[in-house]
């Protein structure tokens, strides 16, 4: 009898042929062009999640000359009449592709409840485990042939409303693939590597377990295949074959040329620098790499560690710092998507769980404020260069075109070419719409 399960020479041959070897990056520049030109290409979505609730008054709905306005100045943008904070200068150059919603009004002023409301379109504690809009949209936008996950999330908050970040009744196969959940390794005193200043982002469980060599992994796979072939040849249950297919897909994701999507070291140092060295900046760079490869949904959080935008104290120092990070990552992302012809098929939503009080409190901070706040849509399917809705001179109330969170989510769906009233069915047989509001026509290109 020969060794059917394990052939050492075969393993070595596989290793030599590059299946296990280092990836070569020559084909990368052609990638984006191919992606943009593919007629079957569906749209992608990038959600920029601002954990803690960003201050609209200091970013996209400024109140210069009013007591509530604070010390920041407005600057002109590439869109006539649309003005941003002075701390978003690079983003201002892309304003013609951005639409600011200044009339968002919601009813949840608590981090958990607000996060749940904004991300699922539903207040928490209902009978249905609602999926995050990200999971639901990724499900609609995904293509079966895709090796990479349909929804990659960079460093989401870990503590606030976990349900709002998950797939709910859709089931764990629609859960996000999370990168950067481990805190980045502390910077070492001796930084010998040229890119030691940049955060690296890795996907959970994508790496081989510690102590398992690639040769060993190949042997495991060989053994596994032999075992599977033997079993499945005699068993025809669909569930057995579904199990096997999911493993093949996971193994596919581990292939060097596929997982290379997560290897930011393949990018020139200058590019990585433009995005900013932190989790958000490098997350935006990863978003661009994933969208280039056809991933339909990427989320990048800013301020997730400790709810950075929750600026009850010392608002202006913190918002200035966060704005710098936001500006570099987001603007570079817009630039690079545009250069690659991908901006027209990629819709971006910038939003947090609520806004912040226009009035400045005694600790130079701003508190939670869901009554009148802003979010920003941009890129594919969005009519940019405009502000929709208006708040009063003091920023306290919506004076024109008030919208709810359902309307914003419906607009996002519509911009992506997904009908907002598409229904998923819960396990109890109840149909649930992707978004319950009405898409805002004025914002759709």
């Amino acid at each position: 009898m020969n060794s059917e399960l394990l052939d050492r020479r075969q393993v070595l041959r596989l290793a030599g042929a590059g299946l296990l070897g280092a990836c070569c990056a020559r084909w990368l520049p052609a990638l984006a062009t191919a992606a943009a030109a593919d007629p079957r290409r569906r749209r992608s979505c990038i959600l920029l999640w601002m954990a803690g609730g960003p201050s609209q008054t200091d970013t996209f709905d400024m109140k210069p000359g009013h007591n509530n306005g604070g010390p920041f100045q407005e600057i002109a943008t590439s869109a006539p009449g649309l003005r941003f904070s002075e701390h978003l200068p690079q983003l201002a150059a892309h304003a013609d592709r951005l639409a600011v919603v200044r009339s968002l009004s919601t009813k949840e002023g608590d981090h958990d409840r607000g996060t749940h409301l904004v991300r699922t379109g539903q207040p928490p504690m209902g009978p249905v485990a609602h999926p995050s809009i990200a999971c639901a949209l990724a499900k609609e936008l995904a293509t079966p042939a895709q090796s990479l996950p349909a929804y990659v999330s960079v460093a989401p908050p870990q503590q606030v409303s976990p349900a709002a970040f998950g797939p709910g009744f859709l089931g764990p196969s629609y859960a996000p693939a999370i990168v950067g959940s481990q805190p980045p390794a502390p910077a070492t005193a001796v930084q010998s590597a040229p890119q030691a200043n940049f955060v690296d982002l890795t996907l959970d469980d994508l790496d081989l377990p510690a102590g398992v060599s690639e040769l060993q992994a190949a042997r495991r796979t060989q053994l596994w295949r032999a075992w599977e072939d033997k079993f499945l040849a005699l068993r025809h249950d669909a569930a057995f074959h579904a199990h096997h297919a999911i493993y093949r897909k996971a193994a596919d994701l581990m292939r060097p040329e596929v997982r290379a999507a997560f290897d930011l070291k393949q990018e020139p140092e200058e590019t990585r620098r433009r995005y900013g060295p932190g989790v958000f900046g490098q997350g935006c760079l990863l978003a661009r790499r994933l969208v280039e490869r056809g991933v339909p949904f990427v989320e990048v959080a800013l301020g997730a560690g400790g709810l950075g935008w929750d600026t009850h104290q010392d608002n202006f120092t913190q918002v200035r710092r966060l704005s710098a990070e936001l500006d570099a990552g987001w603007a570079t992302l817009m630039t690079e998507l545009q250069q690659r012809g991908l901006l027209d098929s990629t819709t971006i939503l910038w939003i947090g769980e609520f806004g912040r009080t226009p009035a400045i409190n005694q600790m130079t901070g701003r508190d939670h404020y869901p009554q009148a706040w802003s979010c920003v849509l941009g890129g594919g399917g969005i009519a940019g260069g405009e502000a929709y809705g208006r708040t009063s001179a003091d920023g306290m109330v919506v004076e024109e075109n008030q919208v709810g969170i359902g309307d914003v989510l419906a607009t996002l769906c519509a911009a992506l070419g997904v009908p907002p009233d598409h229904e998923n069915i819960t396990d109890a047989g109840r149909p649930v719409k992707l978004a319950e509001g009405t898409a805002i026509d004025a914002l759709l290109a």
Partner: protein, 490 residues
């Protein structure tokens, strides 16, 4: 009763020209019934002893042993907890969920009558008795949510569709739904929750269920029955439990045995109980369900007796293989494979790699009184567990496969230095053939066949030293733990 089940289902198969699958082997039966009743694969020593045993009654003895084990109580508690809580509710309330687990476990361990078990749950007051109140808490102490859940769990009725409008395909009116909800309208949770105070439920003397549109008060009324009389001496919940758990309430006993059947066979004996009530002609499966329900009532709602009866039928002891096309599932002419639940998977892996740094293996398998759960297990379950649905469908995705391929749970079991199984294979008196056999017995609960033996033996023979052999054994174990055969109960 077991004979009657076999007779009815075999006659049906014959009538439809279906040949039932062959009897399951001892090894297949052992792994199946261990997973179904105790939630884990059998240990190597158990497999060996069972396969070597010639006694004719060894399957009955095995079932008795499993029903008496701590694994049974714990597995039933896990199954019930997942059943009665909304999906994901326990993740947010770890301490209460652990308490509920303990509360359920004690009841299954003493084989409390099923009617008393359900009654105790629905009459929970919390306070000193932490645990069952979580059922109410997780449903927000909202009468309509508790009513919808209780009707489905304990009556087999999908009344919740009638919450907003009359039921589209069964005879439940909106008024009947709210009449049922009225039994829970006077249960109230605590006003404010302190961090330390226990969650206490109280029964008030006021509180009504109202139709959503008109606001009309609906008096408490038993589904398909009468309006409950006003009785100041008894709480509404107690009135309901008295009716619900009565011997004469066929909804209650049918729902119980239909659930038990689904637990073992992967699909209920009779599909939707809503429809049964209206059907003019009963299908053979419904007739059988009724007989089983009567049997269950006559046994004194004895759950262990029910498991004993069902697992000793020929129907349960059929192979999951079928020659040719699969027969219609409602004939139960072969066993349907079920993916292991997240808990079955984790606990089975844990058997192979007991964690040395904590007593975690203790509470999960042989429960003690502590109220903290193994955090790694909870996290594994959170990432693996699909929402309620068809128990025979495989519903995980690539991330779950990655977790199993590269995550800690499998690799702790398969790593040469951590795995207690691989450690045992180091014993000097073992030769390669014995090592291969142990690997298979520990994972698939069956001895290897000739091909498996010879190919693994060839691989081991090529090894130059002990370290290399350990490596190959570790890789083979990894492959087995990730195999489709391991991932299912079949």
């Amino acid at each position: 009763m077991a004979d009657r089940i076999d007779a009815v289902l075999e006659q049906q198969a014959r009538r439809q020209g279906v040949t039932p699958s062959a009897a399951a082997t001892d090894a297949e039966f052992l792994r199946r019934v261990s997973l179904d009743l105790a939630g884990v694969v059998p240990r190597v020593s158990t497999v060996r002893a069972f396969l070597a045993d010639d006694a004719p009654g060894k399957r009955e003895e095995l079932v008795d042993r499993l029903l008496a084990s701590g694994g049974y109580a714990n597995h039933m508690a896990t199954t019930w907890r997942n059943r009665i809580l909304p999906h994901g509710a326990d993740a947010a309330r770890g301490r209460e969920a652990a308490a509920l687990q303990k509360w359920l476990r004690n009841r299954f361990a003493e084989n409390l009558r099923y009617d008393n078990l359900v009654g105790g749950l629905l009459l929970a007051t919390g306070g000193d008795e932490l645990g069952p109140a979580l059922y109410f808490q997780a449903h927000d102490v909202a009468p309509e949510k508790i009513a919808a859940s209780a009707a489905e769990l304990f009556l087999g009725l999908k009344l919740h569709c009638a919450q907003c409008h009359d039921h589209p395909y069964a005879n439940w009116s909106q008024r009947e739904f709210w009449g049922f909800a009225a039994f829970f309208a006077r249960v109230k949770g605590p006003e404010a929750m302190g961090a330390q105070s226990a969650y206490r439920l109280t029964d008030l003397h006021a509180g009504e269920a109202k139709l959503p549109a008109s606001g009309e008060v609906v008096p408490p009324r038993y589904p398909g029955g009468e309006v409950a009389p006003e009785d100041a001496g008894v709480t509404r919940r107690a009135q309901l439990v008295l009716w619900l758990t009565s011997r004469d309430n066929r909804y209650f006993s049918r729902a119980a045995v239909n659930w038990a059947w689904e637990h073992l066979f992967g699909r209920p004996l009779a599909g939707s109980l809503d429809d049964i009530m209206d059907a003019s002609e009963k299908t053979p499966n419904v007739v059988l369900l009724d007989a089983l329900a009567d049997y269950f009532v006559a046994s004194g709602f004895d759950l262990q007796e029910l498991w004993r009866t069902l697992t000793l039928t020929r129907v349960y002891q059929r192979s999951s293989r079928s020659s040719g096309e699969a027969p219609p599932a409602e004939l139960f002419a072969r066993m349907l494979p079920k993916p292991l639940t997240a808990e079955q998977l984790y606990d089975s892996l844990l058997l192979l790699a007991p964690q040395r740094d904590s007593a975690a293996a203790g509470p999960t398998i042989d429960a003690t009184g502590q109220l903290e759960e193994d955090a790694r297990r909870s996290e594994f379950v959170r990432r693996m567990r699909p929402p309620p649905g068809d128990p025979t469908a495989y519903r995980a995705g690539t991330l779950q496969a990655l977790l199993l391929m590269n995550g800690d749970a499998v690799n702790a079991a398969a790593a040469p230095e951590a795995s207690s199984l691989l450690g045992a294979l180091e014993a000097p008196f073992m030769d390669d053939q014995e090592r291969i056999e142990v690997l298979l017995l520990a994972t698939l609960a069956r001895p290897p066949d000739a091909i498996e033996r010879s190919s693994l033996a060839a691989a081991l023979a090529e090894c130059r030293d002990g370290a290399e052999r350990r490596q190959v054994l570790s890789d083979a174990l990894w492959a087995l733990l990730n195999s489709t055969e391991f991932a299912f109960n079949h």
